[in-house]
């Protein structure tokens, strides 16, 4: 079943076309990767899907309804969560607070009910707390819940970002380079972890990644970008043998 589809989305910054005619289809439960050399426009594509940028052209549909011109917070409410390439945690707040904040979007009590601590709010607050602690347990940060989030080591910050994204109760999770800066053992753990959360939370995962070990090991389909153009699309095997992909990554041999 299709969960997200983009029709020829294009993003131009002045004269520069960062992404051109990107046609993406994500099916429910899939893990799909987006790869490409640096500056190929991968994060721009993410930003269009999450509403940070409005595409110059084209349309994006989530579960059949158009989300092209929605604000980021509305898109998150519909069920698309993301992490960032350069970790963007709420640095001065505790690990637990970081996750709690991501629960706020579904709050039904208004500010007065919250101020007066009415049963409706208390109930919601308790649920938020329970859910956040569970998520921290799952990502293995339960012991550090009162630490300042910026004091965590890099790998844990990445996991906290995923926990925070999961707290928004998404159906589609966008991961921007989750394995960046990880060693082979760590990225192997990450691969397992991504699969596990996909199964546990019934997620569809779309990720940008450079670690080929992770990408090839986990993704069911791969899109390849080069200078904003989709140069290939297919299963990991097809991509590995695709001549244009090899050229984009390794360059063309002029003497051949």
């Amino acid at each position: 079943m299709e969960i997200l589809r983009s029709d020829n989305i294009t993003m131009q910054f002045g004269g520069l076309t960062a992404v051109k005619d990107f046609n993406l289809t994500l099916n429910k439960g899939e893990i799909v990767a987006l790869i490409g050399p640096n500056g190929a426009g991968k994060t721009t594509a993410f930003n269009m899907i999450t509403g940070v940028y409005k595409p110059t052209n084209g349309k994006i549909y989530y579960k059949g309804s158009e989300i092209t011109h929605m604000a980021p917070y509305q898109i998150t409410k519909l069920g698309i969560a993301r992490t960032f390439q350069n970790i963007r945690l709420f640095k001065d707040l505790s690990v637990l607070e970081n996750v709690l904040i991501a629960n706020h979007l579904h709050i039904k009590s208004n500010v007065f009910e919250a101020l007066l601590r009415l049963p409706k709010y208390k109930n919601e607050d308790r649920k938020m707390m329970r859910k956040s602690l569970e998520l921290l347990e799952i990502v293995g940060l339960a012991d550090e819940k009162h630490e300042k989030s910026s004091s965590l080591p890099y790998g844990k910050q990445r996991r906290l970002e995923i926990a925070r994204a999961l707290a928004t109760s998404p159906e589609l999770l966008l991961l921007d380079e989750p394995a960046a800066g990880m060693n082979p053992t760590e990225s192997e753990d990450l691969t397992k972890f991504i699969r596990q959360i996909r199964d546990d939370f019934n997620l569809t995962i779309f990720m940008i990644e450079h670690h080929m070990q992770v990408v090839m090991g986990i993704s069911e389909r791969i899109y390849v970008f080069d200078y904003g153009i989709t140069i290939a699309h297919g299963s990991p095997k097809e991509i590995q043998n695709n001549q244009r992909v090899i050229e984009a990554y390794l360059g063309v041999d002029e003497n051949a």
Binding site: L89, F90, L100, I101, L105, A165
Partner: protein
């Protein structure tokens, strides 16, 4: 909260009430005035800290908000006679001339109207960020002041209002200050308060976590404006006379000084700093007079103590950017540890 903390809080509240009772009966008018100002500046500081410290919106419109609250409360509580005396250039507009309200409803309406003004200003201005927001809010505060200077039949223009009944006493000022502190604590520790802090930390991440930035910014701004209006109303009915010139940028600066010294984003810091700054401004009055150092006589310059405060603010910003408390808050655990000179326990109770 532990049972012990409840008892300790209750005991300190009783002590405070006892102190107010004592001060109300035994202290001279000058001391009572200073204590009143301390409490009012606590309210004003907290309202500004909600906007600037907790939500991270650099707003400089506080004097404008205070003037709305002060004028509304003053006009509603002025007696019919006093209104006739005040408005000798042009009589006061008809429906207001006979309106005399009790203090509390007047104060509440003052707060509510200020909240409305905050909302109306916030709706366009909060689309701006950082310095631009500061300039826009500063401008709006000046606009309010100019409007008040020119609405002769409502605010008595540049002549100001005199003979405002002195309703503000220690019970009102401290009562409302405690109410403000409790409201802020409940707000900041609620899910909405966490959302405010998220906006302060990282707007892009906050929006990606589904927080409607605009709605929450306007919410924080409006609540802040409400308490600024209440504080303004208390101030007007304490001083007994207000005029538009009172609500210039310097007033905003005074409150900004309090929250920066106390720690931007700390309720405790603001409360302590409101008392310290207000008392120090009185204690340092000798600086305004001429000082004889024996070998040289420094002539008195009015406003010299403000220079001291400016230098203090500069030093804090340069060397101690987190202020007195940073973003830390008071807790009985920490307090008891400090007074018993124990080393604080590490996280998880390890020594």
């Amino acid at each position: 909260m532990k049972k012990r903390d409840y008892y300790l809080t209750a005991i300190s509240l009783i002590l405070l009430i006892g102190f107010i009772f004592y001060a109300d009966n035994n202290m001279d008018a000058y001391m009572v005035r200073i204590l009143n100002l301390c409490a009012i500046y606590t309210i004003l500081g907290l309202s500004m800290n909600l906007i600037n410290g907790f939500t991270g919106l650099f707003s400089l419109g506080h004097a404008g908000f205070m003037s709305v609250g002060a004028y509304v409360t003053a006009i509603l509580t002025l007696s019919v006679n006093a209104k006739v005396q005040n408005f000798f250039l042009k009589p006061i507009a008809a429906p207001l001339s006979n309106v005399v309200w009790p203090f509390f409803p007047a104060l509440l309406l003052g707060g509510a109207l200020t909240a409305l003004v905050g909302f109306l200003i916030g709706a366009p201005a909060l689309r701006l960020k950082g310095d631009y927001l500061a300039i826009a809010t500063l401008g709006f505060a000046e606009i309010i002041r100019v409007i008040f200077t020119n609405t002769q039949t409502i605010t008595n223009g540049a002549l100001g209002l005199k003979g405002i009944p002195a309703y503000t006493n220690l019970w009102w000022s401290f009562g409302i200050a405690i109410f403000t502190i409790v409201t802020m604590i409940l707000l900041i520790n609620s899910s909405y308060g966490r959302a405010f802090k998220a906006i302060r930390e990282d707007e892009i991440a906050a929006e990606s976590m589904g927080i409607d930035l605009f709605k929450h910014k306007v919410l924080s701004f409006t609540i802040g404006a409400f308490f600024a209006g209440i504080g303004g109303g208390l101030l007007g009915n304490l001083l007994g006379t207000i005029d538009p010139l009172m609500f210039r940028f310097t007033l905003t600066f005074n409150i900004l000084l309090i929250i920066v010294l106390g720690g931007i984003g700390s309720i405790t810091g603001t409360v302590i700093s409101a008392f310290v700054v207000t008392i120090a401004q009185e204690a340092l009055r000798f600086l305004d007079q001429s000082i004889n150092l024996g070998f040289v006589v420094i002539p008195g310059v009015a406003g010299m103590r403000m220079v001291v405060f400016s230098i203090l603010l500069m030093l804090v910003v340069l060397f101690y950017r987190h202020g007195l408390m940073g973003t830390n808050e008071f807790s009985w655990d920490k307090f008891l540890n400090v007074i018993s000179m124990k080393k604080p326990l590490l996280k998880g109770g390890r020594k």
